[in-house]
Amino acid sequence: MGKTNKGRGPVWVLLGLLPLLGLGVLLALITLNGAGIGREDVPPVEDLTATRVALPTENEIVVHVTNGGPDPVTVEQVTVNEALWDFEMTPGNTVPPRGSAEITIPYTWVEGEAYGIGMISATGTTFEAEVPLAVLTPGLTGDAFWRYALIGFYVGVVPVSLGLLWYPFLRRLGSSGMNFVLALTVGLLFWLVLDTLLDAVETAGTLPGFFSGVPMVLSVTALTLLGLLGSGRLFRRGGGESSRLSTSYRIAGGIGLHNLGEGLAIGAAFALGEVALGTFLVIGFTLHNITEGIGIAAPILKERPSLSHFIGLALLGGGPAILGTWIAGFAYSPLAAALFLAVGAGAILQVIYEVSRLLLKDSERSRKPALSASNLGGLTAGVAIMYATALLVSV
């Protein structure tokens, strides 16, 4: 028959558009006539999720809602602790599918008490929001900004820096000792990736259904991992192996995203008024994070980077905790939190791959088994350390 690669003229463009045209006709038909099983008698599917409840003043409750269903939802009445209450809603009482709105309720709440907020739709369906413990939601003041930064600083930057201080000690360990530390790092990171991923999935589970939260989180994690692996290869194309310092930076980056999640947890706890829980998380995460410094330092034990690199690594690994407390304290969004955590999980996975490669290459060079007693011991010790410190933050 004719040549397969004829000219790519207007006809070719039309051929490409043809299936799209057909699709358009099909969609139009379905929209106009229903799918053939159209039922007018079926009640609308209403799915309203309260994404955030804020108490910006002593006599105001503000509920942010998102419509996760296929039909619009009209909020007609609002209750606070089983009392119908006056309210105002912007931009309007009807929330379109995938739309969001803000309900402001003039209600003088009592500090330290719990509140249940109910929203009654036009069809009588009810949706709920909760204030577990009423305290003023911190406004975006300079003062609160610095206080959150301070918390993020001593949860993230300080322990990671302290961990990095082990560097001189670790350097004197010798070759198998260093391998032990690298294996330990893999153990630490293994725990971190599970922890981060489970957090991401849990947060994604609170999202309105249309976000497809859990598949989205898992996909983002996988794509982050693949993207980092691919770009790592790009960097190596010219200079052979990626430098150990850059591996450390990538570990710090992945740990940083994980610490962002920790910052979110702490900031959210404080924003919700759970000061005791927030404080408790601060202690737990601080202990937890000191081990992360070891992980960051492990790949560069054979090198001697300048002090500025150490400062950079500490900031990259710990600094995002500050960002996390800010986000959660001032503008918490479960969607952003889930996405950050998913990216973090992907980044940590990629680092696990990198560090494992370092170990494998070393075992090749030294002709020792990769799963030597010291490597296995390091791996187990890493997981054990994380488990032990995680006990402190498991509530």
């Binding site: 910006p56 006599n59 309210f87 009588g124 406004g139 919700l272 005791a276 601060v282």
Partner: protein
Amino acid sequence: MRRVEGAVSRRDFLRAAGVAGAVGVSGGLLGAHAGRALGQDHSGHAMGSEMTGMSHGGNGTAGDVDLSRFDPMKFLRHFDYGQERREGGRTVREWEISAEEVDIEVAPGVMYPAWAYNGQVPGPTLRATEGDRLRVVFKNRGAHPHTIHFHGFHPANMDGVFEMVGPGQEFVYEFDAEPFGCHLYHCHTMPLKKHIEKGLYGAFIIDPKEGRPEADEMVMVLNGFDTNFDGANEVYAVNTVAFHHQKHPVKIKKDELVRIYVVNALEFDFINSFHTHANFFDYYPTGTKLEPSEFTDTKMLAQGERGIMELRYGFPGRFMFHAHVSEFAELGWMGLFEVEE
């Protein structure tokens, strides 16, 4: 498990606080610091007090119902005596009542898919005099079997329990009006709870032969609606619409005798109540005696319980009446009398 999502339950919080306590000295030190760092600095609250902001913030519903569909104010003082005739020397009253499926507005904008007598909840207030012959032609225009069960004396086959009236069918109830009192009628089809909560009930008043003193009479059916079908009421009301008589006070004349026929048709909750402000009322339980049993300002009523309240207001102005079950009051069972000179 780390908490990133918004809601941390109170129980989790307490548990966390407990463990935090156990962490000990270092926890305490750091805890105190963090608490101070972020916590309860009241200077930040200052801007709150000016923000009372909203014009009429408070307990109640937002907006108003469509009164062309059902006007609680008209229902309040409307008594349906039926078609009156004399047959063989006695008074016969005949009503035609249908069961229908209709969406009713139980709070502004909130629709409830009701089953209703004559398309309204509560059904019409039927009224007769002791000894009248009553004939109720009942037509079922709904999709489910229904009946009318009248409280009072009547033969077994007029009880509205065993003689199911299927969709499209009809049945004629015929019996004598006795005893006098404030009664009710409701559907008695199984599942009974469903047929009552959906709205198939109304007041049924039988006057004593000698009558009662002249008064400004009204009927108040206490009810509630489970709008989300979870087995508990979301909205409470007197005559169906939450807070209606708070928005539209019931006007009465100073010193005039007011007689209220109160019927508790509430489902799910055992006890309802009626409380009048700045006044007391004579209470006639079930309305079957001409002497009041009590002079009080608060009366508890169990499901299906009813009675007559008589009172006069000596002062002009606005006076609340509401359930003394505060939850019901705040969810809609609340109203005002506006006493005029």
